[in-house]
């Protein structure tokens, strides 16, 4: 349905007739626009975080030279210091904690003014750690996708194997005995006692993890032992403390942990790697951005 003005109808008049050019209307609209714009800008200016100066923002307990002290931090500190819920803390307790926080903030600001970040080694270390920590925090706020984690797991499968375990006998060959003959007789079924073999005592506690066996046997003997199958007797192994013979009782090699079981570890490793990459990227960016001049003899 339509409504149509007949050609003879009276045309709208006044400043709001859009078919006429009216200077006053333009001025009114421009003024209205300016007022609205200023109102929005003012609202943003006086309410955006870090720009509020008129009063203490709702989330803050105080402003110290416009640096906010979070109300949540005050509550946490009161609870930690007095072991009472915030509601049950006395006004004096609240004041004490708040004054301590203000004092700390004042000293931090004064320290910055004095350039302590240039002079004090503890401040410098803390700043370095805090900056690195900040990068890490930012990296951790987004959870990686399952695809990313699965790809990581597949590329680093070795990390997600269980620790191997072994039960092993470790004997030393008596002085003067023929080590080769001893080994042959052991393999033929002779008992160690009849051959005069003495246990070193280092692996007598039963099954142990590979890392412990390596610690007990030493690197060279462990390297031989970890490749042995159950029941196998090694060749004589020369070591600084004499000739050793080892017999594998039970060798449980590392087993791959399924992705589902290693999920938490995969996530941690993935994030640790992401953090390391971001920190390295940040270092390169800072280096690239900085104006670094190195003495000619040190270049």
């Amino acid at each position: 349905m339509t409504e149509q003005h007949t050609p003879g109808a009276q045309a709208p008049s006044g400043i709001w007739d859009i078919h006429q050019t009216v200077g006053r209307r333009s001025l009114i609209l421009a003024a209205a626009g300016a007022i609205i714009g200023l109102a929005i800008a003012g609202y943003g200016l006086f309410t955006a975080q870090g720009t509020r100066t008129a009063n203490v923002p709702a989330e803050d307990a105080a402003l110290v030279n416009n640096i906010p002290l979070l109300r949540a931090d005050l509550i946490a500190q009161i609870s930690a210091l007095y072991s009472v819920p915030y509601a049950k803390a006395s006004q004096a307790q609240k004041q004490k904690v708040l004054q301590d926080m203000i004092r700390e903030e004042l000293y931090v600001q004064r320290g910055v003014e004095m350039g302590l970040s240039n002079d004090d080694i503890d401040v410098r270390q803390a700043l370095v750690q805090a900056t690195e920590g900040q990068i890490a925090q930012d990296a951790m706020t987004a959870k990686p996708s399952e695809d990313e984690l699965a790809t990581w797991y597949n590329a680093h499968r070795g990390r997600y194997a269980s620790e191997g375990m072994m039960t092993i006998h470790d004997w030393t060959v008596p002085a003067g005995a023929d080590a080769r003959q001893t080994v042959m007789r052991l393999r033929a079924g002779a008992s160690p006692a009849t051959l005069g073999l003495k246990s070193t005592g280092r692996t007598d506690d039963g099954e142990e993890f590979y890392f412990a066996a390596e610690e007990h046997l030493g690197k060279s003997i462990f390297a031989i032992a970890r490749g042995m199958v159950d029941g196998a007797v090694s060749d004589p192994i020369r070591a600084p403390d004499g000739v050793h013979i080892v017999q594998m009782v039970h060798n449980r090699k590392p087993v791959q942990t399924p992705y589902a079981k290693a999920h938490d570890q995969v996530l941690n490793d993935f994030l640790a790697n992401k953090v390391a990459r971001l920190q390295d990227g940040n270092r390169r960016f800072l280096q690239k951005r900085a104006d670094i001049k190195i003495a000619s003899d040190l270049q």
Partner: protein, 284 residues
């Protein structure tokens, strides 16, 4: 000037009956009247615009004042106050869904494969589940590289040469790890090796477990050490799960959102998360 009015009837069909045409005509007349009013009173549109803007501004100010009340309130009192609760939950739910649900699940039930706790029970790993503690975790995280976060302890990996880089602890043998596993299973009546259970307390003591979990195995919420005598398991409670936890260690993380979320969002989401857990009243 042409004005075309299309009215869709309740049944979704376009107008075609005579009765409906008269209805359309009356709407058209009203529109014409409004247009005429605007022509005769040139300031009317500006006034209408001003009213709309005032309403919008008022709505913004009202919402801000409501949110400010949530921020200024004692965090633990918000859930009990109907007005504050409504504001905080309305603000907290979308924040939770956007930032937390990826790990904790849309329903807050957690994920045992990642050691993400169930937020809907009344068992709390860190602290006692107060709004301020939850807000603290959301802001500074757990092992999230923020020094104000909860970073004091990790579960050592006892099947490693150095179980914990921060504290000298003795590695355990497979048999000792089995003793500990059986000992922990015994508290829920699931142990299968009585001899191992008997050796458990001594192994527990020598391995240094008591340092975090306590002599009574009751845990320590100040460092996120869970109680070991109940049947609530962060990473699963089968014998294999427990053995793996003791052998490989655990160190779950919760990100620090201090720079990502505003204080209002942090407060709201903390209230929302607290609301997921049963209250003392619910438990009764």
């Amino acid at each position: 000037m042409y004005v075309t009015v299309w009215i869709r009837a309740g049944d979704g069909k376009d107008l075609d009956g005579s009765g409906r045409v008269s209805q359309a005509m009356s709407v058209m007349t009203a529109t014409s009247t409004l247009a005429a009013a605007f022509r005769s009173r040139p300031l009317l549109p500006a006034l209408a615009l001003l009213l709309v803007l005032t309403a919008l501004l008022g709505s913004c100010v009202w919402k801000r004042s409501e949110q400010a009340a949530v921020l200024r309130a004692d965090p633990e009192a918000i859930l009990a106050d109907e007005r504050l609760r409504k504001v905080a939950l309305a603000g907290g739910k979308p924040v939770y869904q956007h930032y937390c649900a990826a790990c904790h699940g849309a329903d807050g039930k957690g994920d045992q494969t990642l050691g993400v706790p169930d937020l809907t029970d009344d068992d709390h790993l860190y602290g006692t589940g107060t709004v301020s503690q939850i807000e603290d975790i959301a802001r500074y995280g757990i092992r999230a590289h923020n020094k104000r976060g909860w970073n004091l302890a990790v579960m050592p990996a006892y099947a490693h040469k150095i179980p914990d880089a921060a504290e000298p602890l003795p590695p355990q043998t497979p048999a000792q790890i089995n003793d500990l596993t059986q000992y922990l299973l015994s508290f829920t009546g699931r142990a299968t090796d009585p001899a191992a259970v008997k050796r458990g307390p001594e192994t527990y003591s020598k391995a240094g477990c008591w340092d975090c979990h306590g002599r009574d195995l009751g845990g320590d919420p100040a460092i996120g050490a869970p109680t070991l005598t109940d049947n609530i398991w962060l990473y699963g409670g089968t014998a294999d799960d427990i053995r793996r936890t003791i052998s490989r260690g655990r160190a779950g993380i919760s990100p620090a959102f201090a720079r990502t979320l505003t204080p209002a969002q942090l407060r709201d989401v903390a209230v929302y998360v607290a609301s997921l857990a049963p209250t003392a009243q619910d438990s009764k």
